[in-house]
């Protein structure tokens, strides 16, 4: 039986599962949960009073933003340039009425920071899952890496692949298999439809999550682009026709 601490927090409009396998002070979980609520209050596009909403609506200027918000928005702009606009936080209508929505980066970024918080408080074996985007460290059991399933696009309770991830790893999946869910192509303003799901495996969830979104928008050529520009990352792509494509390095993560 697993020891450690398990906690599920409903925050940022989703469930965040925190599984720590070390016997840490349960107060550490409260610290992580407080961080996630701080992120929600700061970056939410559902809260009109959040600094990001205020900035997106033109009510405050860039120099009135905190260093934290400026850093995140600047990183978003760098990613927009790098992905030729496939990752763009400034063009799709947000719930607050503006068209500034950094949620696509904030999720991965905040969970990676949460992982750093756990590490700083002595946790070495843990897995944080925020709505399907995962940052993990160490092992699930002694000498047994975390077994991570990639959701099958049409069979919600099955996996399309099962991976063994240990040490420091991050995995994010971009997909639209849920009713009403969609990802907009910033260039056309229309939902993207070429792929069923895109999974990226790497070390830092901040980038892994953003590139999953960008590749999903770019389509299959996006996976080729990622292979050329980011050989340190691996991708697993599922098409609507049941074909899959993966980077040559992806197979090493498969669980035997």
């Amino acid at each position: 039986m697993a020891t450690g601490v398990h906690h599920v927090e409903d925050v940022m409009g989703m469930a965040v599962s925190i599984h720590v396998r070390d016997d840490i002070d349960p107060g550490v979980i409260s610290t992580v949960v407080a961080w996630l609520h701080h992120v929600d209050a700061t970056f939410s596009t559902y809260k009109m009073e959040s600094p990001v909403s205020q900035f997106g609506l033109g009510l405050i200027s860039a120099d009135q933003l905190s260093e934290e918000v400026r850093d995140v928005l600047t990183l978003c702009e760098s990613l927009r340039e790098e992905t030729s606009g496939a990752f763009d936080i400034g063009c799709v209508p947000a719930p607050n009425g503006s068209t500034l929505d950094p949620s696509g980066l904030v999720k991965g970024w905040s969970i990676e920071r949460a992982a750093e918080l756990l590490e700083a408080h002595g946790a070495t074996n843990f897995c944080i899952n925020a709505g399907g985007d995962i940052a993990l460290r160490g092992n699930a059991e002694p000498d047994q890496p975390w077994r991570i399933g990639i959701r099958h696009p049409t069979e919600p309770l099955a996996s399309a692949a099962v991976l063994s991830l240990g040490g420091r790893a991050a995995i994010a999946t971009s997909a639209t298999y849920e009713r009403g869910a969609h990802i907009i192509d910033p260039k056309t303003g229309e939902p993207t439809a070429e792929l069923a799901s895109v999974t990226i495996v790497g070390e830092d969830l901040t980038y892994v999550d953003a590139y999953a979104t960008a590749v999903f928008v770019m389509g299959l050529n996006g996976a080729e682009w990622l292979l050329e520009t980011h050989p340190e990352l691996d991708a697993f792509v599922i098409g609507h026709d049941g074909l899959t494509w993966e980077t040559p390095g992806f197979n090493r993560w498969r669980s035997s």
Binding site: E67, S98, L100, R147, R151, H152, S174, E190, A223, A235
Partner: protein, 198 residues
């Protein structure tokens, strides 16, 4: 010169206005009125399909890197003067097809083997209809991991397969579970519940 006891250490420098962020704000603020002024066009319009648009964007990236290779090839096999012809060709053609070039002759062109800081390399391109249709590296360094990763960049290839369903035990699930509502019906939710019960 700051000392370990610098009394000004605690003084926070006022943030400098960031042009990029201001532009971002302008861009996002301008959008709603643009949307009102320009309602979505109908099917008959010339708007490109989402996938096609991104495909050509990605293709553009590929052509840029291939052109870079073509310039290198030229430089390796001929004088450096004509390398500039290929490298500058995109700028002199029409803006509609910025990467089209008339300088390439059909055939398979091998670059001279050349030693770079990773070892001996040679690249080859196949030109058909004036366009580069294939590129390969007949000679490349393969001594260390760094070279291997460079080879992977030079000849990227995705591995194609057929989707199968796996039902093994997992600790966590990666997927687009975007809302709390959808989480309730997810495999991840079942995993979390089983841990809560143990």
């Amino acid at each position: 010169m700051p000392t370990p006891n610098d009394p000004y250490d605690d003084i926070v420098t006022p943030p400098v206005p960031d042009d990029r962020l201001s532009q971002l704000a302008d861009r996002s603020a301008a959008r709603p009125s643009e949307l009102e002024l320009n309602p979505p066009r109908h099917n008959g319009s010339k708007r490109r399909h989402a996938a096609k648009g991104s495909r050509s964007a990605a293709l553009g990236l590929a052509v840029v890197s291939t052109l870079g290779m073509a310039a290198y090839l030229h430089q390796a096999s001929q004088s450096s003067g004509s390398a500039a012809t290929i490298a500058s060709a995109p700028a002199t053609t029409s803006t509609k097809k910025p990467f089209e070039t008339k300088s390439l002759n059909d055939g398979v062109w091998n670059g001279d083997p050349s030693t770079n800081r990773w070892g001996l390399v040679q690249v080859a391109i196949t030109v058909s209809g004036g366009k580069i249709t294939a590129a390969s590296a007949p000679l490349y360094p393969s001594d260390d991991n760094r070279s291997l990763s460079i080879n992977r960049i030079a000849i990227p290839k995705l591995v194609q397969s057929t989707l199968t369903a796996q039902n093994g035990n997992v600790n966590s699930v990666s997927g687009a579970t975007s809302t709390s509502e959808s989480y309730q019906t997810s495999l991840q939710s079942a995993i979390d519940k089983s841990h809560a019960a143990s």
